[in-house]
């Protein structure tokens, strides 16, 4: 399955949907092959009913500008590029407004999968095992 993506200033934008019980949020994410983990804006996590502050898992995050700490929560369901992952861990961190995104789709989302990014056709092919 080939999914088109939007390329803006060199960034790959993909829509992502989070669902928890009766709530859902459709987010604008950047596909980041340089990120080991998927990251979600802290406000959205709170809106969905997660509690990043109470999370016992604080993860050291090494970024281009330094070291920060983020809470890890397990989200009920994340849907992107035609695939669903359930009980999926995400880091809660708020990126600056200038990034204009709700979060990052990191490499952990593509684990056990084949990811092909076609920069000629602006499409992503994502196949393989998901839960």
């Amino acid at each position: 399955m080939n999914v088109p993506f939007t390329l803006e200033e060199g960034l790959i934008f993909v829509p992502v949907r989070f669902t928890r019980e009766s709530k859902s949020y459709t987010a604008r994410f950047v596909l980041d092959t340089g990120a080991s983990n998927t990251m979600l804006n802290t406000h959205i996590a709170v809106y969905l009913g997660y509690d990043p502050i109470a999370s016992s898992e604080r993860i050291q995050v090494t970024t281009a500008s330094g070291i920060e700490y983020a809470s890890r929560v397990i989200v009920n369901e994340i849907f992107a590029l035609g695939k669903i992952r359930k009980q999926f861990p995400v880091l809660c961190h708020t990126l600056p407004p200038s990034a204009s995104v709700d979060g990052l789709l990191g490499l952990d989302f593509f684990r056990n999968s084949i990811l092909l990014i076609d920069f000629i056709k602006n499409t992503i092919s994502f196949t393989g095992q998901t839960n």
Binding site: E9, P15, K23, S24, Y25, T26, H43, A80, P97, A99
Partner: protein, 75 residues
């Protein structure tokens, strides 16, 4: 009160703003097609605060601006 607009109408009406949508309709690619505008502002964090306060069942926040030209983004 319903303020339902298409994505294109939102882009024109709320330029370079963050827009909170309730019940966003999406196409097969999960792209937002239309939604009920609950709140809009140039202050992103205020829009997120309103998201938590209004607490709609289904929602999305869209940004109608673009990343400035000649900007490099390293996340």
């Amino acid at each position: 009160m319903q303020n339902i607009f298409t994505y294109q109408e939102i882009q024109k009406k709320f330029q370079s703003e963050w827009v909170l949508l309730e019940s966003p309709e999406t196409n097969e690619r999960l792209e937002i097609v239309r939604g009920n505008v609950l709140f809009h502002s140039k202050d992103r964090d205020e829009v997120y605060r309103q998201l938590i306060e209004m607490n709609p069942l289904s929602s999305a926040v869209i940004y109608t601006g673009t990343i400035p030209k000649n900007t490099a983004v390293i996340l």
